[in-house]
Amino acid sequence: MEEELINQVKQLIIDSLRIEGMNPDDIETDAPLFGEGLGLDSIDALQLVVAMEKDFGVIVPDAATGTVVFQSVRSIARYIAENRK
Protein backbone atom coordinates (compact mmCIF):
# COMPACT_ATOMS: atom_id res chain seq x y z
CA MET A 1 0.00 0.00 0.00
CA GLU A 2 1.26 3.46 -0.83
CA GLU A 3 2.92 5.28 2.03
CA GLU A 4 1.45 8.48 0.65
CA LEU A 5 -2.10 7.22 1.20
CA ILE A 6 -1.24 6.14 4.73
CA ASN A 7 -0.03 9.67 5.48
CA GLN A 8 -3.10 11.19 3.85
CA VAL A 9 -5.31 9.10 6.15
CA LYS A 10 -3.34 10.23 9.19
CA GLN A 11 -3.71 13.84 8.13
CA LEU A 12 -7.43 13.29 7.50
CA ILE A 13 -7.80 12.00 11.07
CA ILE A 14 -5.94 15.00 12.51
CA ASP A 15 -7.86 17.53 10.41
CA SER A 16 -11.36 16.11 10.62
CA LEU A 17 -11.13 15.40 14.35
CA ARG A 18 -9.31 18.69 14.99
CA ILE A 19 -6.62 17.00 17.06
CA GLU A 20 -4.34 19.75 18.27
CA GLY A 21 -0.59 19.30 18.61
CA MET A 22 -0.40 16.02 16.73
CA ASN A 23 1.53 15.22 13.55
CA PRO A 24 0.97 12.29 11.18
CA ASP A 25 4.18 10.73 12.48
CA ASP A 26 2.64 10.58 15.95
CA ILE A 27 -0.04 8.13 14.77
CA GLU A 28 0.95 4.47 14.51
CA THR A 29 -0.24 2.92 11.28
CA ASP A 30 -1.38 -0.35 12.85
CA ALA A 31 -2.47 0.81 16.29
CA PRO A 32 -6.16 0.43 17.16
CA LEU A 33 -8.11 3.64 16.68
CA PHE A 34 -10.63 2.94 19.41
CA GLY A 35 -10.11 2.18 23.07
CA GLU A 36 -6.46 2.05 24.01
CA GLY A 37 -5.18 3.37 20.70
CA LEU A 38 -6.11 6.91 19.69
CA GLY A 39 -9.11 6.62 21.97
CA LEU A 40 -11.67 7.44 19.30
CA ASP A 41 -15.38 6.77 19.73
CA SER A 42 -18.47 6.48 17.57
CA ILE A 43 -18.81 10.28 17.36
CA ASP A 44 -15.31 10.46 15.90
CA ALA A 45 -15.97 7.54 13.57
CA LEU A 46 -18.98 9.24 12.01
CA GLN A 47 -16.89 12.38 11.53
CA LEU A 48 -14.32 10.24 9.69
CA VAL A 49 -17.02 8.68 7.51
CA VAL A 50 -18.05 12.14 6.31
CA ALA A 51 -14.44 13.22 5.78
CA MET A 52 -13.62 10.08 3.78
CA GLU A 53 -16.58 10.67 1.51
CA LYS A 54 -15.66 14.31 1.01
CA ASP A 55 -11.92 13.80 0.43
CA PHE A 56 -11.84 10.41 -1.30
CA GLY A 57 -15.38 9.83 -2.55
CA VAL A 58 -15.53 6.64 -0.48
CA ILE A 59 -18.70 5.63 1.34
CA VAL A 60 -18.87 3.48 4.47
CA PRO A 61 -22.39 2.16 4.00
CA ASP A 62 -23.20 0.55 7.31
CA ALA A 63 -22.11 -0.24 10.85
CA ALA A 64 -20.69 -3.65 9.99
CA THR A 65 -18.43 -2.15 7.32
CA GLY A 66 -17.40 0.59 9.72
CA THR A 67 -16.30 -1.96 12.30
CA VAL A 68 -13.90 -3.45 9.75
CA VAL A 69 -12.73 -0.17 8.25
CA PHE A 70 -11.98 1.71 11.45
CA GLN A 71 -9.66 -0.80 13.06
CA SER A 72 -6.51 1.15 12.22
CA VAL A 73 -5.02 3.70 9.84
CA ARG A 74 -3.91 0.84 7.61
CA SER A 75 -7.40 -0.64 7.39
CA ILE A 76 -8.84 2.76 6.48
CA ALA A 77 -6.20 3.25 3.79
CA ARG A 78 -6.85 -0.24 2.44
CA TYR A 79 -10.58 0.44 2.22
CA ILE A 80 -9.98 3.74 0.45
CA ALA A 81 -7.57 2.14 -2.02
CA GLU A 82 -10.09 -0.56 -2.84
CA ASN A 83 -13.14 1.66 -3.13
CA ARG A 84 -12.19 5.11 -4.31
CA LYS A 85 -13.38 6.22 -7.71
Binding site: S16, A45, L46, D62, A63
Partner: protein, 282 residues
Protein backbone atom coordinates in the same frame (compact mmCIF):
# COMPACT_ATOMS: atom_id res chain seq x y z
CA UNK B 1 -15.96 34.93 25.03
CA UNK B 2 -15.52 31.91 27.27
CA UNK B 3 -18.25 29.37 27.91
CA UNK B 4 -18.06 26.61 30.50
CA UNK B 5 -20.05 23.59 29.31
CA UNK B 6 -21.03 21.04 31.95
CA UNK B 7 -21.62 17.53 30.56
CA UNK B 8 -24.07 14.96 31.90
CA UNK B 9 -23.42 11.68 33.63
CA UNK B 10 -20.27 9.84 32.49
CA UNK B 11 -20.64 6.19 31.46
CA UNK B 12 -17.54 5.05 33.34
CA UNK B 13 -15.02 6.34 35.80
CA UNK B 14 -11.27 6.65 35.55
CA UNK B 15 -9.13 4.55 37.84
CA UNK B 16 -6.65 7.41 38.11
CA UNK B 17 -7.70 10.37 40.19
CA UNK B 18 -5.92 13.64 40.88
CA UNK B 19 -4.22 14.06 44.25
CA UNK B 20 -3.91 17.83 44.59
CA UNK B 21 -5.45 20.00 47.30
CA UNK B 22 -8.47 20.96 45.19
CA UNK B 23 -9.34 17.36 44.48
CA UNK B 24 -8.83 16.37 48.12
CA UNK B 25 -11.30 19.07 49.12
CA UNK B 26 -13.83 17.98 46.52
CA UNK B 27 -13.37 14.32 47.54
CA UNK B 28 -13.96 15.22 51.18
CA UNK B 29 -17.12 17.17 50.29
CA UNK B 30 -18.26 14.22 48.18
CA UNK B 31 -17.80 11.83 51.11
CA UNK B 32 -19.52 14.11 53.57
CA UNK B 33 -22.37 15.41 51.45
CA UNK B 34 -23.00 12.64 48.91
CA UNK B 35 -21.75 9.61 50.85
CA UNK B 36 -19.41 8.44 48.09
CA UNK B 37 -15.72 7.72 48.50
CA UNK B 38 -14.24 8.73 45.14
CA UNK B 39 -10.95 6.95 45.75
CA UNK B 40 -12.38 3.44 45.81
CA UNK B 41 -15.90 4.15 44.53
CA UNK B 42 -17.56 2.81 47.68
CA UNK B 43 -20.42 4.27 49.68
CA UNK B 44 -19.70 5.52 53.17
CA UNK B 45 -23.33 5.17 54.27
CA UNK B 46 -26.30 3.40 52.78
CA UNK B 47 -25.13 1.85 49.51
CA UNK B 48 -26.68 2.94 46.24
CA UNK B 49 -26.35 1.92 42.60
CA UNK B 50 -23.48 2.23 40.18
CA UNK B 51 -25.46 4.77 38.19
CA UNK B 52 -25.83 7.03 41.22
CA UNK B 53 -22.11 6.69 41.92
CA UNK B 54 -21.34 7.75 38.35
CA UNK B 55 -23.71 10.71 38.64
CA UNK B 56 -21.98 11.90 41.82
CA UNK B 57 -18.53 11.22 40.35
CA UNK B 58 -19.40 13.24 37.26
CA UNK B 59 -20.50 16.22 39.32
CA UNK B 60 -17.44 15.99 41.58
CA UNK B 61 -15.09 15.95 38.60
CA UNK B 62 -16.89 18.91 37.04
CA UNK B 63 -16.51 20.89 40.25
CA UNK B 64 -12.82 19.95 40.40
CA UNK B 65 -12.13 20.92 36.76
CA UNK B 66 -13.96 24.18 37.23
CA UNK B 67 -11.61 24.97 40.10
CA UNK B 68 -8.59 24.21 37.90
CA UNK B 69 -9.82 26.54 35.16
CA UNK B 70 -10.44 29.34 37.62
CA UNK B 71 -6.92 28.83 39.01
CA UNK B 72 -5.66 29.36 35.45
CA UNK B 73 -7.60 32.65 35.43
CA UNK B 74 -10.06 31.22 32.92
CA UNK B 75 -13.53 32.39 33.84
CA UNK B 76 -16.82 31.96 32.01
CA UNK B 77 -18.95 34.71 30.57
CA UNK B 78 -21.65 32.12 29.92
CA UNK B 79 -22.43 28.69 31.34
CA UNK B 80 -24.22 25.87 29.56
CA UNK B 81 -25.25 22.45 30.78
CA UNK B 82 -26.29 19.05 29.47
CA UNK B 83 -28.59 16.79 31.47
CA UNK B 84 -27.21 16.22 34.99
CA UNK B 85 -24.52 18.77 34.26
CA UNK B 86 -27.07 21.22 35.64
CA UNK B 87 -25.94 20.55 39.22
CA UNK B 88 -22.28 21.61 38.87
CA UNK B 89 -23.42 24.33 36.45
CA UNK B 90 -25.57 25.80 39.21
CA UNK B 91 -22.56 25.72 41.53
CA UNK B 92 -20.30 27.32 38.92
CA UNK B 93 -22.84 30.08 38.35
CA UNK B 94 -22.97 30.84 42.06
CA UNK B 95 -26.60 29.74 42.38
CA UNK B 96 -25.85 26.77 44.65
CA UNK B 97 -22.94 25.93 46.98
CA UNK B 98 -20.69 23.08 45.79
CA UNK B 99 -21.62 20.88 48.74
CA UNK B 100 -25.32 21.34 48.05
CA UNK B 101 -24.76 20.46 44.39
CA UNK B 102 -23.10 17.18 45.41
CA UNK B 103 -25.78 16.35 47.95
CA UNK B 104 -28.61 17.26 45.59
CA UNK B 105 -27.11 15.05 42.88
CA UNK B 106 -26.89 12.08 45.25
CA UNK B 107 -30.43 12.58 46.56
CA UNK B 108 -31.92 12.93 43.07
CA UNK B 109 -29.92 9.90 41.93
CA UNK B 110 -31.04 7.79 44.87
CA UNK B 111 -34.65 8.82 44.30
CA UNK B 112 -34.44 7.80 40.63
CA UNK B 113 -32.75 4.52 41.53
CA UNK B 114 -35.90 3.41 43.37
CA UNK B 115 -37.51 2.99 39.94
CA UNK B 116 -35.02 0.19 39.22
CA UNK B 117 -36.56 -1.87 42.03
CA UNK B 118 -39.77 -2.35 40.07
CA UNK B 119 -38.63 -1.82 36.48
CA UNK B 120 -35.69 -2.27 34.17
CA UNK B 121 -34.56 0.68 32.06
CA UNK B 122 -31.90 1.52 29.51
CA UNK B 123 -30.58 4.23 27.25
CA UNK B 124 -29.93 3.67 23.57
CA UNK B 125 -27.30 5.79 21.86
CA UNK B 126 -27.94 6.01 18.10
CA UNK B 127 -25.34 7.56 15.82
CA UNK B 128 -25.71 8.26 12.12
CA UNK B 129 -29.45 8.44 11.49
CA UNK B 130 -31.43 11.65 10.94
CA UNK B 131 -33.82 12.77 13.64
CA UNK B 132 -37.05 11.88 11.85
CA UNK B 133 -35.97 8.25 11.48
CA UNK B 134 -34.85 8.07 15.12
CA UNK B 135 -38.20 9.48 16.23
CA UNK B 136 -39.97 6.88 14.11
CA UNK B 137 -37.86 4.12 15.68
CA UNK B 138 -38.67 5.48 19.14
CA UNK B 139 -42.38 5.50 18.38
CA UNK B 140 -42.26 2.00 16.90
CA UNK B 141 -40.66 0.66 20.06
CA UNK B 142 -42.48 2.68 22.71
CA UNK B 143 -39.49 4.67 23.94
CA UNK B 144 -38.65 8.37 24.07
CA UNK B 145 -36.13 10.78 22.63
CA UNK B 146 -33.92 11.74 25.59
CA UNK B 147 -31.08 13.68 23.95
CA UNK B 148 -31.05 15.52 20.64
CA UNK B 149 -27.31 16.16 20.58
CA UNK B 150 -26.71 16.86 16.89
CA UNK B 151 -28.44 16.09 13.60
CA UNK B 152 -26.98 12.56 13.78
CA UNK B 153 -26.41 11.84 17.48
CA UNK B 154 -29.36 10.85 19.65
CA UNK B 155 -30.13 9.12 22.92
CA UNK B 156 -33.34 7.20 23.46
CA UNK B 157 -34.65 6.27 26.88
CA UNK B 158 -37.25 3.82 28.14
CA UNK B 159 -37.88 0.29 29.32
CA UNK B 160 -34.86 -1.91 28.83
CA UNK B 161 -36.58 -4.57 26.70
CA UNK B 162 -37.92 -1.87 24.39
CA UNK B 163 -34.50 -0.26 24.04
CA UNK B 164 -32.98 -3.66 23.34
CA UNK B 165 -35.61 -4.39 20.72
CA UNK B 166 -34.89 -1.22 18.73
CA UNK B 167 -31.23 -2.03 18.11
CA UNK B 168 -31.92 -4.30 15.13
CA UNK B 169 -34.33 -1.81 13.57
CA UNK B 170 -31.88 1.06 13.96
CA UNK B 171 -29.07 -0.90 12.33
CA UNK B 172 -31.36 -2.10 9.54
CA UNK B 173 -32.34 1.50 8.82
CA UNK B 174 -28.71 2.54 8.48
CA UNK B 175 -27.48 3.57 11.92
CA UNK B 176 -23.72 3.81 12.04
CA UNK B 177 -23.60 2.82 15.69
CA UNK B 178 -26.13 1.67 18.30
CA UNK B 179 -25.08 1.22 21.92
CA UNK B 180 -27.22 0.31 24.89
CA UNK B 181 -26.59 1.33 28.49
CA UNK B 182 -28.57 0.02 31.46
CA UNK B 183 -29.74 2.76 33.83
CA UNK B 184 -31.81 3.15 36.98
CA UNK B 185 -34.63 5.22 35.53
CA UNK B 186 -36.00 6.42 32.16
CA UNK B 187 -34.27 9.78 32.44
CA UNK B 188 -35.58 12.66 30.29
CA UNK B 189 -38.93 11.01 29.61
CA UNK B 190 -42.50 11.54 30.83
CA UNK B 191 -42.14 8.19 32.64
CA UNK B 192 -40.26 10.12 35.34
CA UNK B 193 -43.58 11.64 36.42
CA UNK B 194 -44.06 8.46 38.48
CA UNK B 195 -41.60 9.89 41.03
CA UNK B 196 -42.28 13.56 40.30
CA UNK B 197 -43.63 14.34 43.76
CA UNK B 198 -40.61 12.84 45.50
CA UNK B 199 -38.21 14.65 43.20
CA UNK B 200 -40.06 17.89 43.85
CA UNK B 201 -39.70 17.44 47.62
CA UNK B 202 -35.94 17.02 47.26
CA UNK B 203 -35.56 19.99 44.93
CA UNK B 204 -37.48 22.33 47.23
CA UNK B 205 -35.17 21.46 50.14
CA UNK B 206 -32.52 23.79 48.69
CA UNK B 207 -32.23 27.53 48.32
CA UNK B 208 -31.16 28.71 44.87
CA UNK B 209 -29.44 32.05 44.42
CA UNK B 210 -29.45 34.27 41.36
CA UNK B 211 -26.81 33.00 38.89
CA UNK B 212 -23.90 35.43 38.88
CA UNK B 213 -22.89 34.10 35.46
CA UNK B 214 -25.67 33.65 32.86
CA UNK B 215 -26.71 30.00 32.81
CA UNK B 216 -28.38 28.74 29.63
CA UNK B 217 -30.81 25.86 30.06
CA UNK B 218 -30.82 22.92 27.66
CA UNK B 219 -34.59 22.81 27.12
CA UNK B 220 -35.44 26.19 25.59
CA UNK B 221 -32.02 27.93 25.70
CA UNK B 222 -33.23 30.75 27.93
CA UNK B 223 -31.13 31.91 30.86
CA UNK B 224 -32.24 30.62 34.24
CA UNK B 225 -33.17 32.95 37.07
CA UNK B 226 -33.21 31.86 40.70
CA UNK B 227 -36.99 31.61 40.52
CA UNK B 228 -36.78 29.35 37.43
CA UNK B 229 -34.38 26.83 38.92
CA UNK B 230 -36.67 24.57 41.02
CA UNK B 231 -39.17 24.13 38.19
CA UNK B 232 -36.38 23.55 35.68
CA UNK B 233 -34.71 20.90 37.86
CA UNK B 234 -37.88 18.84 37.77
CA UNK B 235 -38.82 19.51 34.13
CA UNK B 236 -35.35 18.64 32.87
CA UNK B 237 -35.74 15.11 34.22
CA UNK B 238 -38.96 14.69 32.21
CA UNK B 239 -37.99 16.39 28.95
CA UNK B 240 -35.27 15.83 26.33
CA UNK B 241 -31.93 17.61 26.22
CA UNK B 242 -31.47 19.79 23.14
CA UNK B 243 -27.73 20.21 22.88
CA UNK B 244 -27.58 21.27 19.21
CA UNK B 245 -29.98 24.13 19.92
CA UNK B 246 -27.89 25.08 22.95
CA UNK B 247 -24.67 25.18 20.96
CA UNK B 248 -26.22 27.28 18.20
CA UNK B 249 -27.67 29.66 20.80
CA UNK B 250 -24.28 29.95 22.53
CA UNK B 251 -22.60 30.72 19.22
CA UNK B 252 -25.24 33.33 18.44
CA UNK B 253 -24.66 34.86 21.88
CA UNK B 254 -21.03 35.42 20.91
CA UNK B 255 -19.20 32.53 22.56
CA UNK B 256 -15.82 31.94 20.93
CA UNK B 257 -14.15 29.48 23.35
CA UNK B 258 -15.78 26.39 24.78
CA UNK B 259 -14.37 24.66 27.85
CA UNK B 260 -15.84 21.25 28.62
CA UNK B 261 -15.84 21.14 32.40
CA UNK B 262 -16.16 17.51 33.37
CA UNK B 263 -15.37 13.96 32.38
CA UNK B 264 -14.69 13.30 28.70
CA UNK B 265 -15.15 15.51 25.67
CA UNK B 266 -18.48 14.47 24.17
CA UNK B 267 -19.84 18.02 24.09
CA UNK B 268 -16.80 19.29 22.21
CA UNK B 269 -17.25 16.48 19.72
CA UNK B 270 -20.91 17.36 19.25
CA UNK B 271 -19.89 20.99 18.70
CA UNK B 272 -17.32 19.88 16.15
CA UNK B 273 -19.97 17.93 14.28
CA UNK B 274 -22.41 20.86 14.27
CA UNK B 275 -19.67 23.20 13.04
CA UNK B 276 -18.51 20.86 10.29
CA UNK B 277 -22.08 20.27 9.16
CA UNK B 278 -22.63 24.02 8.93
CA UNK B 279 -19.43 24.34 6.89
CA UNK B 280 -20.54 21.57 4.53
CA UNK B 281 -23.84 23.31 3.87
CA UNK B 282 -22.16 26.54 2.74
Amino acid sequence: MNCFMFPGQPLSHSGTLPDDADFCQIAQDTRERAGLNLNDFTWTGTPSTGSVALQVYGVAMSLYRKRLLVREEIRPRLIAEHSMGIYPALAASGALPEGDALELTARIGRCMSVMSETGSYALGCIVGLPGEIVISIAENNGVFMANHNTSRHFLLSGERRSIESLEAEALARGAFSVKLFPCDAPLHTPMMEAIGDKLQEIITDYRYGEPAVPLMNHIDQSFLTAADVPDFLLRELLLPVYWEKSYLALRKAGVTRYHEVGVGDALKKYNRWIESEAARSL
